[in-house]
């Protein structure tokens, strides 16, 4: 049963990575940039939810929605102010800007909310579900996290596969010039992508802090990097890849913590990433369509 417990915690942590990784991978797919500030949007989302619930005594669901609304606006603003002026700039300039935005958000949070840790209270309570006559217990947070991840994954797959906007996003991610010739407004499509990614980041922030309640201005940075790893692991630009990469990363991390060493768990995670990239440089589900001429 301990194995099953570890597996469930791994899937739960992996679900959070997957939700964050979706934001990374969608933005990369369409804007061809690594938005290293994405992890810090998670932190902002968690703070908004924290204040909504703890200070203003709003219901948790309202807190989550408020966090999503604020992060969506934040994502659009960051894109407009920091990244859009660099659309034609070399990718290195954009990357450095993203790191700058990341520090800006972290320091802004320190200034606004102090570096003192806040104790985040889980939005779904601390109850546990007992299975197999109490041999296996699963927290509501774990269940909510896994279910949220599945719902988000299905919704995004339907959105990109079946809606006009979703298809336009795929068209832009493949060829912005051609998309523009179709009458697609590439700039607003990029904004929508940032909005979706940041809204998801807010959910991830709330789930993350529900499971690990210590909230500080740097809360988002390590999960952000892990989720970026997950996105590369699964094949950056691919939505199912982010899902698979996130889940695997979470499970590997928890197993490494449980069976190898707590201190070495991150090293194990990154070692697995290196091996995967050596064998399959485009990631697990990274596409390499050969063009016929």
């Amino acid at each position: 049963m301990t194995f099953l417990n570890y597996l469930l915690s791994g899937i739960s942590l992996g679900s959070i990575y997957a939700i964050i990784a979706l934001g990374y991978t969608m933005v990369y797919g369409i804007a061809k940039m690594l938005n290293f500030a994405h992890g810090d949007v998670i932190m902002v989302g968690a703070y908004i939810c924290f204040f909504a619930v703890s200070r203003f005594a709003l219901p948790p669901l309202v807190g989550v929605l408020a966090a999503m609304a604020v992060c969506t606006v934040l994502g659009i603003l960051v894109e407009r102010l920091a990244y859009k002026p660099l659309r034609a700039a070399p990718s290195l300039a954009v990357l450095i800007t993203a790191i700058g935005v990341s520090y800006f958000l972290q320091n802004g949070a320190q200034l606004l909310w102090t570096p003192n840790p806040k104790v985040f209270s889980s939005v779904v309570g601390t109850g546990r579900l007992a299975l197999f006559g109490g041999q296996l217990t699963v927290s509501y947070v774990t269940i909510t996290t896994i279910v949220s991840c599945i719902v988000i994954m299905v919704a995004l797959t339907l959105f990109t596969g079946n809606t006009k906007m979703g298809k336009a996003m795929r068209a832009c991610s493949e060829d912005k010039g051609a998309a523009q010739l179709m009458g697609i407004n590439v700039n607003s499509t990029i904004s929508v992508t940032f909005a979706i990614g940041s809204g998801l980041a807010a959910i991830a922030g709330v789930l993350l802090c529900s499971a690990y309640p210590n909230l500080v201005p740097t809360t988002g940075s390590m999960p952000g990097i892990k989720a970026f790893t997950a996105a590369v692991f699964g094949g950056i630009g691919s939505i199912p890849g982010a899902f698979l990469g996130g889940l695997l990363l979470g499970v590997i991390e928890i197993f490494a913590k449980a069976y190898i060493s707590t201190q070495l768990s991150d090293a194990v995670v990154f070692a697995v990433l290196i091996v995967v990239l050596l064998v399959k440089p485009t990631g697990l589900l990274g596409k390499q369509i050969r063009e016929k001429v």
Binding site: E174, A178, N185, R290, E291
Partner: protein
């Protein structure tokens, strides 16, 4: 007058690529821009499409000044382009590519629009659910043309539609351009294959290093000694 281009100057940074080109396209015409590689044909077309903007000069489409209009707003006004190198969405299916072509249409795309494309390109119908990247070069060109038709363009601009295709396919592509024309679409054609272009063009302009060197009817230019020597192999 459907399209009027007046004395446009276009730059790539410091490079003066288009040095004062003027031409026009009347409704119902096939107009060709021909010239050697690097003469500025594609740049001219991209400037009309709003992908690039001229530093000076004026472009008018159906009476409206579109000189500085963002490119994505033009398909809704009736301007469509089949870009050089096809630029279809390789990871999307044939149907999805056609749907993208109809992006500016509100609501659901009518089945008749797809059928119209398939009537010109029966092969695309057979491959409708195939991923576009798996099509042959000729089929990809057909898809790029079909995709452009989906927006019901008043003016269809084709950039090097014959590039990289076998001679038999080039014939087929040009026949289809004439079909489009016969069904009422005005055509602006950019081609290096001057011989084919002049055969179907009502009028043509010859571009040389960013300026118009010659213009006339297709038949006149096909007979011109200069053209014969420079582009038609004697």
């Amino acid at each position: 007058m459907m399209l009027t281009v007046e004395n446009i100057h276009v730059y790539y940074g410091a490079i003066h690529a288009i040095k004062g080109i003027s031409f026009d396209v009347n409704e119902g015409e096939v107009v060709a821009l021909i010239g050697a590689n690097g003469a500025g044909k594609s740049t001219t077309l991209q400037t009309v499409s709003g992908i690039m903007h001229p530093r000076s000069g004026k472009i008018t489409f159906l009476g409206e000044d579109i000189t500085h209009t963002d490119g994505y707003k033009l398909p809704a006004k009736g301007l469509a382009q089949v870009p050089e190198g096809r630029r279809i969405f390789l990871q999307m299916t044939v149907m999805e590519n056609l749907e993208m072509g109809a992006y500016v249409q509100k609501g659901k795309v009518p089945e008749a629009d797809f059928e119209n494309v398939f009537s010109h390109f029966p092969r695309l119908k057979e491959r409708r659910s195939q991923i576009a990247g798996t099509l042959s070069g000729g089929e990809q060109q057909m898809l790029a043309m079909g995709r452009a038709l989906m927006s019901h363009p008043k003016l269809l601009m084709l950039d090097e539609p014959s590039m990289g295709l076998a001679p038999i396919l080039v014939e087929e592509i040009f026949n289809i351009i004439q079909e489009f024309h016969a069904s009422g679409t005005t055509i602006l054609l950019v081609e290096q294959n001057a011989e084919m272009a002049l055969q179907i063009a009502d009028r043509a302009y010859v571009l040389e290093s960013g300026s118009i060197a010659l213009s006339g009817t297709g038949a006149e230019l096909a007979q011109s000694d200069e053209i014969k020597k420079a582009y038609l192999g004697g």
